[in-house]
């Protein structure tokens, strides 16, 4: 049975994202995928364009916050949705390639725009089973 890769957390007004992975980079990529899934079904997003981003922060928590907010910024200013993330993390420096396409309201049926990733429930840690977890609540 395959393990769960990402999930949404319940939050009264908003929604949380949580990604799991063998290392922080994989958990970060899947937290990003969980965020895409707040907007639309990630399977509906085709990889037609690639955007490269990088960020750096004092610790993993802030790196996750900056990473998700970087994606929010790229989605908003490029008018794109991303359905695939390639992430590498060296120390507290992240480099990533975001694959996606321009928003097509008819096909994607985007439910809600993301205002920002928040520090609520913000955490990056290694779970008991050895997998890395990256999570936070996002404001929609």
């Amino acid at each position: 049975m395959s393990e769960i890769q990402w999930e949404h957390l319940e939050h009264g007004a908003d929604i949380g994202v949580r990604g799991y992975g063998a290392d922080p980079a994989a958990a970060f990529a899947r937290a990003a995928l969980a965020m895409s899934a707040v907007v639309t079904d990630p399977d509906l997003i085709e990889s037609r364009e690639t955007v490269e981003v990088e960020c750096e922060a004092e610790d993993y928590d802030l790196l996750l916050l900056d990473w998700l907010n970087e994606i929010v910024y790229q989605m908003a200013t490029r008018n794109m949705l991303f359905g695939c993330y390639e992430v590498s993390i060296d120390d507290h420096r992240l480099e990533a390639r975001l694959h996606g396409e321009a928003v097509d309201a008819g096909r994607h049926q985007p439910a809600v725009e993301i205002k920002g990733a928040t520090m609520t429930e913000l955490a990056v840690y290694r779970a008991g089973d050895g997998r890395w977890v990256a999570q936070c609540i996002i404001d929609v």
């Binding site: 908003a76 920002g116 520090m119 609520t120």
Partner: protein, 476 residues
């Protein structure tokens, strides 16, 4: 929430006495049912706010309070700069100056009925809504600076609106003290295509009719009679405000210790009012308030064009425009003397009572209109500030219904198409680019706004004036 944890001061006032690091007590206004249904996190967050330096009076939560970021949504707190008071990015929120404005149309329900489909199509075609929609106004750097400084007044100068609109907007449509130099390049980039757009989520434009009048004298002063048709617009400062909120939340969270502030919760990110970070945020946040006011003003202009296309010669007059995510300097009596306080309202509406000097002459005797949005397909309310509002929570009231279930639960429970059809059979036309968005915003996914409004009235925060029901809803 376990109500035994509170001291009940009266029927609708519940106190969390100051304990531990709390500098003041916290007060929640709600009836017993609402309080019991409230998230435990509201207790914690209202208590945490009470720990912040320079807080004056109490940390308040309104009847629609729920789990927020640092502050509860529905939180009100005032700070005195002379006492080391702070300004908090979390206490304003991501959607800076999100708010509601209400326009009187001079039409009655019977006028709309035969033209409702046409009106819905006109509005949907003219007002950009939803992800990926763009406005027709693109500002260069100087233009954006002027917008960030001038707010609705700037919009009026550009031809969007009528001179009479300004006095029906808080701060006469222009928040003083905005500093565009504090607005980052990224915030500007996010706003590039978003002037005059509605956004998504719980934002909407609704054509509504007055289906009940609760206080005929004040309703008449507001220009509201049973059967009258109005337009309500709920949206905020768009990408620019979201980006400013994002940037300052991080900056304040990481700089708090430098200012000697021990944060009980990182998300309570704040800075002393008298600090570089605090002043810089105030300048940027006020610019975002102006962005929200300009945005609602442009949407008003587009709404007037749509109405004019269907009802030529029809004139839409602004009843009032309120913001419910702000921090503003205001004069209040606290501790027996008049003081200048910075009042945070996060998911709470200003509710100034009669004769408040900030009210325009036409509203001075009635008190300020307090506009409360409900969910698509249920109802909304117009309240008015009262003499008591000032003493209860620095002249503040609730702001809306609040969600009863998560977006995911809503999506599982309902299908967008069925909701559109069902509401259509009830005479409510829905227009939205996203059926999934409609499902997530289903009427029953929200709490009962009537219970919230009744509790606000019973607690003396504001007075019920009229209830509005939707005829057309444009959803992002």
């Amino acid at each position: 929430m376990d109500i035994k944890r509170f001291e009940r001061l009266d029927q609708n006032t519940w106190e969390i006495p100051a304990q531990g690091k709390m500098r003041v007590s916290a007060i929640i206004y709600a009836d017993r049912d609402l309080l019991e249904a409230m998230d435990d996190k509201v207790y914690q967050q209202a208590s945490n706010v009470a720990m912040l330096p320079g807080i004056v009076g109490h940390s308040y939560a309104m009847p629609d309070a729920h789990w927020g970021y640092g502050f509860p949504i529905g939180g009100v707190a005032a700070f005195d700069a002379d006492e080391g008071g702070v300004v908090s990015a979390g206490g304003v929120g991501f959607d800076i100056s999100c708010g509601v404005r209400c326009l009187l149309t001079g039409l009655v329900r019977e006028d709309i009925a035969p033209r409702a489909e046409e009106l819905a199509d006109e509005l949907f075609a003219r007002v950009p809504a939803g992800i990926g929609s763009t406005g027709r106004i693109h500002l260069d750097r100087a233009g954006m600076d002027a917008m960030l400084t001038g707010g609705a007044r700037w919009a009026l100068d550009q031809g969007y609106g009528k001179p009479g609109d300004l006095e029906r907007i808080e701060e006469r449509g222009c928040m003083p003290g905005a500093d565009p130099a504090q607005v980052s390049e990224r915030a500007r980039q996010r706003q590039r295509d978003e002037m005059g757009t509605l956004g998504s989520g719980n934002h909407y434009l609704e054509v509504q009719y007055v289906d009940a009048v609760h206080a005929a004298d004040i309703a008449a002063r507001f220009g509201l009679r049973e059967g009258d048709v109005v337009v309500s617009i709920h949206c905020g400062s768009r990408g620019l405000g979201h980006q400013i909120g994002t940037e300052y939340l991080r900056l304040m969270a990481t700089s708090a210790s430098r200012h000697g502030i021990l944060l009980p919760d990182r998300e309570l990110a704040c800075a002393p009012l008298r600090s570089d970070v605090g002043q810089s945020y105030l300048g940027a946040m006020r610019a975002a308030i102006n962005c929200a006011l300009a945005n609602r003003q442009i949407i008003t202009h587009l709404t007037r064009q749509a109405f004019d296309a269907v009802f030529p010669g029809c004139s839409l007059e602004l009843l009032y425009d309120v913001s419910h995510n702000t921090c503003k300097p205001e004069t209040h009596v606290a501790g027996g003397r008049k003081r200048e306080l910075y009042v945070h309202r996060k998911g709470a509406t200003r509710a100034f009572g009669p004769r408040h000097p900030d009210l325009p002459p036409a509203l001075r005797e009635s008190g300020q209109p307090v506009l409360i949005g409900g969910s698509m397909g249920t109802c909304s309310y117009v309240l008015a500030g009262t003499d008591a509002s000032e003493q209860r929570a620095f002249g503040s009231a609730c702001h809306g219904a609040g969600r009863a279930m998560s977006r995911r639960q809503a999506r599982r429970q309902w299908q967008g198409r069925r909701i559109v059809d069902q509401l259509g059979s009830e005479g409510i036309r829905i227009r939205s680019p996203s059926l999934r968005g409609v499902a997530e915003e289903a009427p029953l996914a929200y709490k009962d706004v009537t219970a919230v409004v009744d509790a606000a009235e019973h607690a003396g925060l504001a007075r019920k004036i009229a209830r509005l029901r939707p005829l057309v809803c444009i959803k992002g």
